[in-house]
Symmetry: C2
Subunit: 347 residues, 2 copies
């Protein structure tokens, strides 16, 4: 568990978690909660839904006081609607959770601590509020100096192509093999999963690479930091974030993430997806600035919109073309990528 | 004068200026003050230095009360160290300036109004504080959509290689020729000089390209926006800012700025300067994402550490190698670059 960045809140908030689903109307809206339930099942004591909510994570259905009695420390407001705005129901529920003695953390654009009712409830109950998307202070300017330890960063063609999932799957696989490996979070869901991290897209622009250096500090135990990538060098809205993260991470290894069925860059009709090789080469070229020894070690393909046969054919084609293992982490696992990582970065 | 960003403060502060040099230990540290003294000499009544400061702008040396008596309205804290932190001496001097009746503006990361002593002094004297690096609210996410108007962006090998100077020199030259051209400020000095702009390195990381789109909005009058570049794609601390600015600016033309005598990237011993052609090509490649028609139109060389003969030889060599006009804007002017810009971007 990291002691960095917004984990400033850590110690004041943390697992065990109650996952708040609210009135979530579609699967995407519970992405954060689903990520937690999937990757950290031992930390999740239950879920709380409105009667209208059609979705479930299959966890015990708990009221706020019940959750507290069951050992929950913190409620995670894991549902996000368009714009990241809090509904009146959510505000009422957050206040009730605070009154029941839970801390509350959220990753919405609208901040918990910008709501006076929520702030008052936290104060009267001595509870902690934590906004995972809050801009973070006290981050140094990146210095680019080589630091001890080994690092892998996930990069990709676009936003939302599976970078967090892939990074966590690599962590799970490496830990099963007895390798020290720690997921380093750079986004809201990842921060709840890791219990710490820095929302890299929310720092002041001058400090992006400095934040990345802080997320993954020097480590001397021979283990790996597996850093959650963000955005894409070819996304006109967010490429600056991706480049600063790439420089600050100083990755020894890159894993490239791609969703083959997407026609344009996320949110930007008219901007086609770049070619995989072009984009991977651009990432390698930029990464060499702070780590000339960087290598690509695998491709993680999101094949959820392909048939099983199509997926296999495409993985084989990309693997041959890039001379890297290529697989879908969900349906095929990441063992071949870990094998290649260990072979490439043996020393 | 732009109506964007931090020019909000204008009207409560402004010229005539007292330029504060403090304990500046190297020439680069007084960049802001030097820029103002050069581009707006009529606005600068004097300078104030610590006894330890070895540098001067050649302006009258004034105490705070003397400056006030000489007509100064506002003291500009123009010295910046790495990270933009205020020294205790600076805090003491800012308080004394406020007590003498001056307003104070600064472009440090550490905000004037985060210091209780400074805030108290401003209040008791009824003076205005203005932080030019304040993160700016209400910036949209960049959308990459083509907008009307023609744009030139200065880029470069490193930070502090003359991008602002070059951009302002281009503005001056183009205006003399009767061409509509407006300097668009992205940094603290530029904002003081232009009376408006957005400090691009101080916006939240997700909004860098959005801020660049806002700095240079659609224009229909056939004129040029000349956008002040920042940082370098090859600077491990700040490249994310440079990339977001490049994407959001959608430049039709790039002017490349370079200081040939620098051995390493600013503030980072051990990081050599990239080759000019490599760096220019990387900028062109990245710029094509939002403007496939982008062209390099010239190279601006800072030859202040060369003899006149060395400067001429080097300009000729670079000009031949890159097939672009190459000159020192200070000693040779920028006419050849403007000629080439107009030839390249006639339509």
């Amino acid at each position: 568990m990291s002691d960095h960045g917004n984990a400033a809140g850590h110690g004041q908030w943390g697992p065990p978690y109650l996952l708040y689903l609210g009135t979530a109307a579609d699967d995407l809206a519970i992405k954060t909660a689903r990520g937690l339930a999937y990757w950290r099942p031992d930390w999740c004591v239950g879920q709380h839904r409105h009667p209208s909510c059609q979705f479930t994570l299959g966890l015990p259905e708990l009221g706020f006081a019940e959750a507290k009695a069951a050992g929950a420390d913190t409620m995670v407001v894991g549902n996000a609607n368009a714009g990241g705005v809090m509904s009146p129901e959510t505000v009422t529920d957050v206040v009730a959770a605070l009154d029941a003695g839970l801390n509350v953390v959220a990753g919405l654009h609208q901040k918990l601590r910008d709501n006076p009712d929520i702030v008052a409830a936290a104060r009267r109950n001595g509870r902690t509020l934590f906004d995972a998307r809050e801009p973070v202070g006290q981050i140094p300017v990146g210095n680019g100096r080589k630091r001890a330890g080994r690092r892998l960063l996930t990069v990709g063609t676009d936003c939302s192509v599976g970078k967090m999932y892939t990074t966590l799957a690599l962590e799970r696989s490496m830990r099963k093999r007895g390798i020290k490996a720690d997921f380093r979070a750079t986004g809201q869901t990842g921060i709840f999963v890791a219990g710490g991290g820095i929302p890299i897209d929310s720092v002041i622009a001058d400090f992006i690479s400095g934040a990345a250096e802080l997320i993954s500090p020097a480590r001397e135990d021979g283990g790996w930091d597996l850093i959650e990538g963000q955005g894409s060098l070819f996304h006109p809205s967010y490429a600056g974030v991706s480049l600063g993260l790439l420089h600050g991470s100083q990755p020894d290894a890159l894993v490239y993430c791609h969703e083959p069925k997407r026609s344009c860059m996320r949110g930007l009709p008219g901007f086609p997806q770049p070619d995989i090789k072009t984009c991977l080469d651009a990432n390698l070229a930029a990464a060499r600035l702070t780590n000339p020894a960087v290598k690509a070690v695998g491709v993680a393909l999101n094949t959820s919109k392909l048939t099983e046969r199509e997926a296999l054919v495409m993985c084989r084609e990309i693997s041959g073309r890039l001379e890297l293992p290529c697989l879908d982490p969900v349906s095929m696992g990441v063992e071949a990528i870990v094998d290649n990582l260990l072979a490439c970065c043996a020393n």
